[in-house]
Symmetry: C2
Subunit: 435 residues, 2 copies
């Protein structure tokens, strides 16, 4: 692109930010300073900012929808696929949900300052752990512009400063939403560095954002596996990440057949594209012959393609053979791998080997097996007699979620406000010294 073309393409929504390195450095400094101030902002001020943003967004509906229309037009022109266009699109219903979301986050309890387990020690001091913000959070996401507002509201409520980098497809929508965020912060007297939306689509901005440990404390990437893997590999700060969801339901011989049927069908067919959707069904050998044909009929009604192990095919006959790749697959589609296993140990061994440690469920009426599955399956969510589709911040009562972590340290499973905080020790004394 020539300099001329660049100028003529210039859009007020993507201001000329000059040198990207220097720009990101300024954002970083602003966020770090804001994070220090945010530590002493009270709940009322944070809620006031959230409600102001809701009001401003309500008033700016027209501008936001216009901006979104420009993004959609550009997306169609550049041949963006239909699924991405759908994620990108805003309408009044989606705007309503965004506005409601702000009010909902305002209504959630503020986790900051909560002190757990304050207890007296023989030395006379009292020791407890106080929940505090993480500091500065960088969030990198793809096409959905509503993430801008969701991420902003959760970071703000948890007392953090946020730097948000959305996808270039959504740049005009994000800029319009960012204007509401800025105005809302100002109205509540909060520093503008508390939430900053990166105003350039230059990819170098991402590279810089993930390598400024002096300004950014943690990165949360939201998007496809390749984006997350790349960021994890290149980041010089900790990453709270969500890789794939290869989720299992294991139907034990002790299962109530009605529950087994309901859960196995719901876990696969409630939604296909979500990370908590079941991708492999494991069926205990003694009940395989009784259950599989009924299950296959139910899946057939939903148009789900089945791929089975040899024993599954011996029962169901006309289905494709599942290959090694199928056991590893996160289909995100109406496809299901089925394996007949010999009992809970074989089921858990399969999950250990092929699972992604996201969400796994057992269907059983046997108390001891339920206890074993809960204790021994090493996944971020482990369930008894419930659909894997429940692995979700709203369903768990977190109020909202910024993502689902498949990491082991810090936050595991759906990450809500608490996952955006950490705990420091507080010691209350009366002049005590160490003897």
């Amino acid at each position: 692109m020539t300099a001329q073309a660049s100028r003529s393409d210039h859009d007020p929504a993507t201001p000329d930010i000059g040198d990207v390195e220097a720009y990101m450095q300024r954002l970083g400094q602003g966020a770090r300073e804001a994070a220090t101030r945010m530590r002493r902002v009270d709940t009322a001020a944070k809620n006031a900012a959230l409600l102001a943003m809701a009001e401003l967004l309500e008033q700016a509906r027209g501008e936001v929808l216009d901006a979104n229309a420009r993004d959609l037009a550009r997306g169609r022109e550049s041949g963006l696929e239909a699924a991405l266009l759908d994620r990108l699109a805003l309408d009044d219903t989606r705007l309503d949900a965004m506005i409601d979301g702000l009010a909902q986050v305002a209504s959630l309890p503020d986790p900051v300052g909560e002190i757990d387990g304050l207890r007296s020690r023989p030395s006379g001091i009292q020791v407890g752990q106080m929940r505090v913000p993480l500091g500065v959070i960088g969030i990198i996401y793809e096409s959905r512009p509503n993430v801008t507002l969701e991420a902003a509201s959760l970071c703000l409520k948890s007392g953090n400063a946020a730097i948000l980098r959305g996808g270039s497809e959504a740049r005009d929508s994000n800029a319009a939403i960012a204007a509401c965020i800025r105005a809302g912060l100002a109205r509540a007297g909060l520093p503008e560095g508390a939430v900053q939306v990166v105003a350039t689509t230059d990819r170098a901005a991402v590279g810089r954002l993930i390598s400024m440990p002096e300004y950014v404390d943690v990165i949360i990437p939201r998007g496809g596996k390749s984006l997350i893997e790349r960021i994890t590999r290149e980041a010089r700060v900790p990453v709270i990440k969500h890789l794939d969801g290869v989720c299992h339901v294991y139907i034990d011989a002790s299962a109530d057949p009605d529950k087994a049927l309901a859960i196995a069908v719901n876990a696969k067919t409630h939604r296909y594209g979500t990370c908590n959707t079941m991708e492999t069904l494991l069926v205990d050998a003694p009940v395989a012959e009784a259950l599989l044909p009924t299950l296959a009929r139910a899946y057939g009604e939903h148009g789900v393609e089945l791929r089975g192990c040899e024993r599954t095919r011996a029962i169901l006959g006309d289905i494709a053979e599942a290959s090694e790749a199928d056991w590893h697959a996160e289909y995100l589609a109406p496809v299901l791998a089925i394996r007949v296993v010999d009992g809970i140990d074989a089921a858990m061994a399969h999950i250990e080997r092929y699972g992604s440690r996201h969400t796994d469920a057992i269907v059983t009426e046997h108390y001891g097996l339920a206890r074993r599955f809960l204790a021994e399956v090493d996944s971020s969510s482990v369930m008894v007699n419930a659909s894997t589709r429940f692995a979700d911040g709203f369903e768990y009562g977190l109020g909202a979620e910024i993502g689902i972590s498949t990491d082991r340290l810090h936050a595991r499973g759906p990450v809500g406000l608490e996952g955006l905080t950490t705990r420091k020790y507080v010691v209350l004394g009366d002049g005590q010294v160490r003897r």
Copy 2:
């Protein structure tokens, strides 16, 4: 060294492990398998192993002391400095403490399996968070051989598998202790992969240990700052790290002078070489003239060298000027930097700029200032009217500590058994599906 010399030097304590890469891979596989089994080991079996190790160590006192004597002789020969020789040395008193430590860890409550906050959701499911082991923990440490046992006992009690890599100075002592650990595991029927002590002093073993994410879930380095920085830089798995402790005491004008004096003296002079020792004293201007001369006399009695800002020197006269480097310094020695500041905001700004976010204390009788200091100082331990020396796992009632984390995510401050675990979600249902 020729092959001949290598053979003649060969010590039964450092068996010929062959190719280091392949050896570390075997340890990793063994640990991963053991970690899976450890998830279902009950508290009684873990305690039995700890108590068996205590008994075996009691019986092996002679062998352990002989091995330690060999390490000490080798250390003296190679010109190891006195402080390191002291850390390396074992005697009956230190062995007593190690044996008692095992019994103490056995007596601690088992954190694994604890479920927090189990609550019913409108959908009918119950959701809670279950505390589970981290998995495989790699610990890299320097000369003190008692760390081998401490680390082994804490990892074991928290249900993890551990790979321990001690310093080459302590190789014979560590090998003798490792024999007790192995025998203790075997006696309690636990897998030998649950605790493995790396039996080679080859430095390539460390490089491999920190870059096997498929086998190792987290690395905890214990040692000097340069070791920790190098490992953090090179590790391909998360690191729970402890960098420096530049700790502050701020004496506010509202302080009780007796408490201020006691805390400021204790925080500096109780021990010099520890990370929770105060390195910079901040004194509020209105009380500087009244307090500093008394403090200077007390420090003088302990032989502490003072370095002050201009205003401090205007009061105390004959002390050295503190340079910019002094405000950043972790002396670990009888040296103290002193600065006169104007109130809590200036004190907190100093701590924010120069501190290491380890432990900081305020001395005050003012309720509002105490609350502000607790909320706004961003350190792993924040104290009111108590000596910074209390920042310690035993003093906090954790029972034991594997280190003090200055990280922000996961564990912050003293890390005990709980810091070696993580929490997964558990969902208890009765056939619920997502609507």
